[in-house]
């Protein structure tokens, strides 16, 4: 935590909302991207981000600074997204969303858009079938654009575990999306994994 952040945290602990606004400014982008990567919807992401910062405001009293502020906020966002998704997991709602997406896509620009929506829905379904640790790791890496080191700190696991989850997650997704594809050597993420 930088000196400036430590001062802001101290001011927040004294109830200074302007100081908290400065923290929200600083971490809005990261928290929103994390929330979006985990929920896949801008409205849900906004709600999750608000939940995250409200929890942060209340939790700053107990924040000891053992982890970086960014890491702590990302963990709060993960928890907030998990709670949010649990609340809205009703199948009927999900089906309604899928149908709505198709209708909107058809209205927008016809067949090509519908194909994109189908791809996205296939991908969404496949991602949802991944075990939570793989899903979270993929979301943080490909969605929130965190480094392997940052993900390891956030999820409290070794960097090697993060790399394993990334390669395994991609391989599982390929299997889920194309079950006829012959199983082969586990695919490595094409993207360079920088620490």
């Amino acid at each position: 935590m930088t000196e400036h952040e430590a001062e802001l945290v101290a001011q927040c602990r004294r109830g200074d909302q302007e100081a908290f606004r400065a923290l929200v400014d600083a971490y809005h982008d990261r928290v929103f991207r994390t929330a979006y990567a985990l929920t896949g919807d801008p409205h849900d992401a906004t709600e999750v981000e608000q939940d995250t910062f409200v929890k942060a405001w209340r939790g700053l009293a107990a924040f000891r600074g053992d982890a970086a502020l960014a890491t702590w906020l990302t963990r709060l966002a993960l928890n907030a997204a998990r709670d949010h998704l649990r609340r809205r997991r009703a199948r009927a709602v999900l089906q309604g969303v899928l149908v709505h997406r198709r209708l909107m896509a058809l209205r927008a620009d016809g067949e090509q858009a519908l194909q994109r929506v189908d791809e996205r829905d296939d991908l969404d379904r496949a991602v949802r079938r991944l075990p939570p640790p793989l899903r979270q790791t993929l979301a943080l890496y490909y969605g929130a654009e965190l480094s392997v080191k940052e993900i390891a700190e956030t999820l409290r696991c070794p960097e090697g575990t993060v790399k394993w989850r990334l390669s395994t997650g991609i391989a599982r997704l390929r299997e889920l999306l194309d079950p006829e594809r012959p199983p082969g050597r586990r695919a490595e993420p094409r993207k360079a994994i920088d620490p």
């Binding site: 929200v24 009293a61 928890n79 997704l173």
Partner: protein, 395 residues
């Protein structure tokens, strides 16, 4: 089926990354509303002493107490807390678990806030339905301990933590918040252990007893069972201090609330009253603020009650003060959620109002035996229905 002319990783990036990130202002607006309706008032309101779930008493910052005593009687429900900087001495009604308190505190540590929720169905007042809760609870905080003022920041944080630790009122709970001179906190929550298992986490011991260190919202929580009580210890203090305090927790014998310990002066002025509102009728007034003005200044989200109790309480407090034209009150306040019919009965009034089953908030401002006022407003729309001044209690 995914078309493989587009790489899977590109698809993932396209799916998992937002097309655009909204401006901070749009998020901040929602966050600020949930932190407190009015930015200049937010700090005061957020940190006002003594929040509760169905019935709430707040000991204002101007009320310097030597010990965090609290007792209230609002509309037929009584909850009592009596204690000192050494610990809780009395709880009313009695909790359904053994109360544990530290036999020795780490050097420099004192009890600065405590909160008690007796749980649903224990108030003896059927029909009371609080904000997401069926039971009243109370939180109190000491502003002066052992001859020393508790720093406002520590006091405010301790209050807020005690309020959060009590949870949603679904079960009886006792929250104890200790602080050291640097403002670090140790938080202890006690509940009945019946039918509960320790949370998942790393196994450890407290004393020689099995315990678990679990992570909750990124914070370590030490959980263990002693006698019939499930104990959770957390806070910003170092692990050694938390462990030391946890290891010293012992069963404590509590006295009836009315029993005043030898040499302990009763709170002055009285921070509690046991006189029902219906015996204190005063002049009724038209509300001093319209619903529109209340919504504009306080914000109003009727759904908050089921998801964010603290925020719902801030809304209700803000709305009641506007409706009653109450200045920046420094006194205690209390509220409950009930029907208009029940509220009118409790106030002993036949004033015109909405249909009897309409859910309302019955809010008492400046809870004391010297006066104060009562506001009734719609729990869904914030429409104020009634403002009445209370007569002082005559001996």
């Amino acid at each position: 089926m995914i078309r493989h002319e587009r790489g899977l990783e590109e698809l993932l990036e396209a799916r998992l990354r937002p097309r655009e990130v909204p401006p901070t202002e749009s998020v901040w607006w929602g966050v600020r509303r949930r932190l407190g309706a009015h930015p200049r008032r937010a700090r005061r309101v957020l940190l006002r002493a003594g929040l509760a779930l169905a019935m709430l008493l707040a000991l204002g910052a101007g009320l310097a107490l030597a010990s965090p005593d609290l007792r209230a009687w609002v509309g037929g429900v009584a909850v009592g807390l009596r204690g000192s900087s050494h610990g809780v001495a009395s709880l009313e009604p009695a909790p359904p678990f053994t109360v544990l308190q530290p036999s020795a505190l780490p050097a420099g540590w004192t009890l600065v806030a405590n909160g008690y929720n007796p749980g649903p169905g224990r108030s003896g007042a059927p029909g009371w339905s609080g904000v997401g809760s069926t039971a009243p609870s109370a939180v109190s905080v000491a502003s002066r301990v052992a001859g020393q003022d508790v720093p406002p920041a520590t006091r405010e944080l301790a209050q807020a933590r005690a309020q959060d630790l009590l949870g949603n009122g679904a079960e009886a709970a006792l929250a104890l918040v200790y602080a050291d001179p640097t403002g670090q906190l140790i938080e202890v929550v006690e509940r009945s252990a019946a039918g509960k298992a320790l949370p998942a986490g790393r196994a450890t011991t407290v004393g020689s007893q099995p315990a678990v260190v679990a992570l909750r919202d990124g914070q370590e929580v030490l959980a263990f069972v002693r006698q019939d009580t499930l104990v959770e210890v957390s806070g910003s203090a170092g692990r050694d201090d938390r462990l030391r305090l946890a290891a010293s927790l012992q069963p404590a014998a509590l006295a009836p609330v009315d029993a005043t310990a030898a040499g302990q002066a009763p709170p002055t002025p009285p921070a509690w009253t046991r006189v029902p509102l219906s015996s204190r009728p005063g002049a009724q007034e038209p509300p001093h603020a319209t619903r529109e003005a209340i919504v504009r200044q306080c914000g109003w989200d009727a759904a908050l009650g089921s998801s964010a109790l603290g925020e719902a309480m801030q809304q209700v407090h803000c709305a009641a003060r506007l409706a009653a034209a109450s200045p920046d009150d420094q006194g205690a306040w209390a509220y409950s959620r009930t029907s208009w019919r029940a509220a009118a009965q409790q106030l002993g009034t036949d004033a015109a109002g909405p249909p009897g089953a309409t859910q309302v908030y019955l809010v008492q401002l400046d809870v004391s035996e010297r006066g104060g006022s009562v506001v009734v407003l719609d729990a869904t729309t914030a429409q104020p229905y009634l403002v009445a001044r209370l007569q002082p209690v005559t001996p």
